[in-house]
Every structure is written in structure tokens, then in C-alpha cells.
Amino acid sequence: MSAEATIDQETQNAIDIDRAKGDFHFPENHKYDAGVGLSTDTINYISDVKNDPDWVRAYRLKAYETFLSKPMPTNWATEDLNNIHFDDIRYYLADGQKPMRNWEDVPAEVLETFERLGVPEQERAFLAGVEAQYDSETAYSSVKEELEKDGVIFVNSTEGLKEHEEIFRPWFGKVIPTGDNKFSALNSAVFSGGSFIYIPKGLKVKHPLQAYFRINSENFGQFERTLIIADEGAEVMYMEGCTAPKFESTTLHSAVVELVAMKGAKIQYVTVQNWSSNVFNLVTKRGLAHEDAEVRWIDCNIGSRLTMKYPGVVMKGERARGEVISIALANDGQHQDTGAKMIHAADNTTSNVVSKSISVGEGRATYRGQVLIPKHLKGCKNNTECDALMINANSKTDTYPAITVRGNQHVTQHEASVSQVSQEMLFYMQQRGISEAAAMSLAVNGFINDLVSEFPMEYSVELKRLIELEMEGSVG
């Protein structure tokens, strides 16, 4: 047993083979390429290619100004952000195809990519609709016919803003304003792809809708933009998966996701991301919950070089509920900076945050939470739990909870714990014949066990497998 996170060649080979599931890419074949670096020309190029309406072009250009005016948030976040060189990134790469409704119409390499990632197979097995994005644009988008008949809209953002402006525009950028942070401004300037979903009043979509975001090109930035609106009493679950091959240079993923749950509606947004360790993953996600509505973020962050993500819920109507359930695994050389933002803006609103992080080797896990309950409200409740598990002495974990409660008619509860996979626990498990790597992965799976059950079945199996792979790589 060694405290050092060294990997022998045999283990390394075993992991490499398994990693191959996501670690491959095809030669680039782009008809449209905005080139390297960012300027108003880049934005105009994107607007031209996408044939944006004027209001969208204006929105992008204004957002670019905001992006330039905002400093990198290194006053509170990691200095590693300064290693993102905006001038070296390519902001738009596409082959000029519209999203296909049938997999057989999708270009061969793109189809093969998604087949290797298992997307068409999952669609047949348990999904109500799928969107598959390849670099900047959606390659495939399809929703079950009966849902289309019921009035469900599931398209990419480009189609959403053009074909459904009357629903799209009133909410676009309203939950997350352009200037929310530097990266939401960047996304607003160059966004492409992502989903637009509308679920009509009272419709409860039984099966999940899924989006898969795939980066194929080096030095590339993926900036999808998602807006999901569940009308009164509607219910939907949306799942997102993400991968990228491992390139030498850095890749940027900076999405903006806005959810709007109207009166009594319920939206669950599930993420299982498994980025390779060269990806900066800087994502802004927030939901707006009206009266009696519920927004749940179920989030699992594995991989990436740096992830900064704090899903939030603004509880705008009485009795609205917000929830963030998150798992973060920071392996060697990775920093998972995650958390939750709960803004109570009406009486009797309830929020719940359960965060579990695992840091391995040199991995670093940071929790940042913000809960705001203003003075004029009554009957609000928040529960926050954050637990950290450290594996070996080099790991680092920090917790920055900020719970601001004004007035005295509220209930808040905060618990935090830091634990370790102790030497005695490992000795015990190994004495039963279980290898060190398997023992680690059992301990980690045990730590997050109660949260894994919150994920849909198909994802919880995948999650356990991903964690096993990560743990195999972290012990000698």
C-alpha cells in the first residue's frame, strides 16, 4: 500500500483501454470555422453563419462588451483561470448541416462518435428525446412523435429562438442575465447549440429527455445554451452527458442553462459529466421556480482540469422548492469548485443542498454555497449538508458556506463533515481479499451511495463504473 498516487504501467494500460470509450477523435471537417481568437468580427461571423435575427446579433455584441469589461474572478476563485488564453481558442466550428431527425442522415464520423458513446442505444432503451451536439452545432435532434403531438418542443437553441420566438424570447437571459459573471457574458456572446425545451401545461413527460455534448476539436470552446420551460403543472426530467478526448492543449466548455418552472411545475436536471483533464468547465446554471414549483439539480462532476459550477434556484413563488444534489470527484491535477446557490424570494419556500466531494491524490475539491433568505419573508427553510472525503494526505478540500438569513421566522440547518478513507478501513477490506483499488472504490461508492440513488437507474450504474475507473487510476 503506498500513500503516493503512483500508477504502475499495467494499471495505466488497463485504464487507457477503458478510457478509450471517450478518448478518441476524428479529423476535423468543418465548413464553418470562426478562426482563432475573439473579436466583434468573430461574433458577426457566428451571427452570419447562423443567420441570427437582429435582436440576437445585438444581444451577442452587447454581451461581448460585458465580457470584456468584467475581470477574471480571481479575487475569490483560482488563479488557474488566468491560464485560459481567450486568443488561442476557436469559438465556432460547424459543418453547416442542420440537425438531423434520423441517425442515418447524420454524417458517418459523427454517427460513429455517438454510437461509441452509446447514445442511440440509450435513446432506444429509455429516452423520450435526444439532442446530440458535436462541437458547435447539433447533429441530431429527435423527440418521440407522441410528445410532439402533445405540443412538446425539443430543438436546439438556434431553432428555438427563430421558430419559437414568442416563448423563447421572454425568458431567454432572464434567469441568468448576461452580466451574471464573466463566463455567462462570454456564452451570451458566442453561444451555439444547447437545447430549447417547452413542456405544455399539465403534461408530465414520463421518460427523460437527453442531450449529449461532445467536443471533437482541439483548442475549441463549446458554448451551448439551454433554456427549459415547464408550463403550469408540467413535469420533465432532462439529462445531460458530456465528454471530450484528451488533447495536449486546453479546451473550454462554458455553458449557460436556464430553467423556468411555472406554477406547480417540476423540472429535474441531471448531469453526468466526464470531461478529460484538459477541459476548463465553467458553467452557469440556474432555475426559476414559481408558486408551488420545484427545480432539482442532480449533478455529478468527474474529470476536467477545473470545474466551476454552482447550480442555483430562485424560489420566486410561494411554497416553491429548490434542490441541489451534487457529487464531485477531484483526482490528481483536477480542481472541482462546485456548490449551490439558493435564493428565497417568497414565503414558505424550501431549499435543500446535499453535496459530497471526494478528493484523491493532489485533487482539490471546493464547496461554495450561498443561501439567501431576506428579512421580509416568513416560513422559509434551508437544509445544507456538505461532506468531503479525502483519499491520501495530499488531497485538499475547502468549504465556503455563506448562509444569509434575515428575520427570525425561518429554519436553517447546516452540517459539514470531512472524513478519510482510513488506513484501518483499508486494512480491514484488504484482509478480506479485496485489492487496494477495489477497496478504495468500495469506500467511495459507500460514501456517495445515498446520493447515487437519486440518479436515474441507467446513470447510477454508469456513475459507479466511472468512479471505479477513477479509483483504479489513483492507487498503485
Binding site: 478501513m425 486494512f427 480491514y428 484482509q431 481479499g433 460514501f447
Partner: protein
């Protein structure tokens, strides 16, 4: 066929704890080691299992002729050594059923899977011997267990893993008489010509229920006296005072 410990010396942080232990446990026999606190009994069990806090400075431990001191903890386990812990560790969030299953899975060749139906059938029948509630399978390993439950769990794992050599470290401590009888029933069910058992205990009480073939007395890191089961009764009556007067301890 036996577990042979020869002139074993081991340190913890440069302090010698074992100072030349010699012991042979042939298959088919039950041995007991008794001795005062601090004599090195528990250390011996951990050194044989391969705990990394203990440094073996000389001597050997061999299993049916194969030296095992170079093996990792899990390899020694799979080679046939089982240690029932005095203080079993908790494994939060991992159910007993999954834990034992993982241990059995670790013994299969790569690509082979445990048959779940047969596994549960086996597990339940062994739990019945130990009078354990079925709900136990879903509980996390040792988490919130009473002392008696932990010890029964150790015996259950031992029965499931079917080891060639069992070392029971103070299995009787913290047990009331009823629990002790149940645990003893489990251990006695494990007695077999194909298995060697070593019990480490402070009290003679356990030996009323699991009758040993041999009793050894350990003091200051060595086996200082060996006899039949009657030796345990002598110790019960006159204690370990003879160690001080009799000059059995190496000067």
C-alpha cells in the same frame, strides 16, 4: 500442511514487540494463545495478516511451505488467511451483502461473476447458524453495530470466505454469554481437518465453548509455555503471576 511462524521479530516504530515467536498451526487443529495485556498477542495476528504499521525485522511466516511475508494484505487473504478483528472497522455506505460479495468476487478469475441467487442462499443459511436477522444484509458494514453484532459479522465473513487458516483476535471480548455461545457455534462449525484455527484470548471463558487442542502462553513477545487445554484452566486459577516468579521471561 500448516501455518508456520519461525523466530518472528517485528517492530512498531522501532520498538520491538515480537521477539522471536515460534508457532505451528497444522490443519485440523485448534490452538489458543493466552497471555497478559501487552504481551504481543494482537500484534502477532496483525503481522501475520500484513498490517503496514508493523515491520518484520527477521523470521518467517509460511503457509503450507510458501513464505507469505512478501505478499500484500489482500494477497495473503486470498492465499487463505482470515483474521477476525478485535475491533472491526466500519465501512460507511457499503452494505454487508455487497461487502462480502466483493470479497468473494475478488477470489474469482477476471470476467467471472458471482451467481447472485446461490450467493444469497449461502449467505442466509450461514446467517441462520449465527441467528442473524435478514435485515442485516442491507446494513452498512459494522456501522452502528453493537459489540456482539460486530463479532457475529466477523464469524459470518469467516464462514463465507471459507479460509484455510483462521486467526480470531479477542473474539470473546465484549460478548454476553448468549452471544458468546452463538459465536462459538459458528467457530465450531468451521472446525475441519482442512482448516487450522488460532484463537487469541485473554480469558479462559471462550475455551469452555471452543475447545482447543493446544494452549500457548505468550509473554513479552514470545511463546513461553505450551500445553493442552488444561493449561488454560491453570491460568484461570493462578493467573499469569508465574511469569514473574518462574523466570520464564527472557532476561
Amino acid at each position: 500442511m500448516s501455518l508456520v511462524i519461525k523466530d518472528l521479530h517485528a517492530n512498531v516504530e522501532d520498538t520491538p514487540i515480537l521477539k522471536g515467536v515460534n508457532l505451528e498451526i497444522p490443519k485440523g487443529e485448534v490452538h489458543a494463545i493466552m497471555g497478559p495485556n501487552g504481551s504481543g498477542k494482537s500484534t502477532l495476528s496483525k503481522v501475520v495478516a500484513g498490517h503496514e504499521d508493523y515491520e518484520v525485522t527477521s523470521g518467517s511466516v509460511s503457509l503450507d511451505g510458501e513464505d507469505i511475508l512478501e505478499l500484500d494484505v489482500d494477497e495473503r487473504s486470498r492465499a487463505g488467511i482470515f483474521l477476525a478483528f478485535q475491533y472491526p472497522a466500519e465501512v460507511p455506505g457499503v452494505s454487508n451483502a455487497n461487502f462480502i460479495r466483493a470479497a468473494l468476487q475478488a477470489r474469482l478469475p477476471k470476467g467471472e461473476e458471482i451467481d447472485a441467487v446461490a450467493y444469497y442462499k449461502d449467505l442466509y443459511s450461514k446467517m441462520d447458524v449465527l441467528e442473524m436477522n435478514r435485515k442485516f444484509t442491507a446494513r452498512a458494514v459494522n456501522e452502528g453495530f453493537s459489540g456482539g453484532e460486530k463479532k457475529r459479522n466477523e464469524i459470518l465473513q469467516m464462514m463465507m470466505l471459507d479460509p484455510q487458516y483462521c486467526i480470531l483476535d479477542e473474539t470473546d471480548s465484549g460478548l454476553d454469554i448468549d452471544a458468546l455461545k452463538i459465536v462459538a457455534k459458528g467457530v465450531n462449525a468451521m472446525r475441519s481437518p482442512d482448516r487450522g484455527i488460532l484463537m487469541i484470548t485473554h480469558y479462559q471463558r471462550l475455551l469452555d465453548y471452543i475447545e482447543p487442542d493446544y494452549v500457548h502462553v505468550m509473554a513479552d513477545g514470545q511463546i513461553v509455555k505450551t500445553g493442552g487445554k488444561e493449561l488454560a484452566l491453570e491460568l484461570e486459577e493462578s493467573g499469569y503471576d508465574f511469569l514473574k516468579d518462574g523466570g520464564l521471561v527472557n532476561a
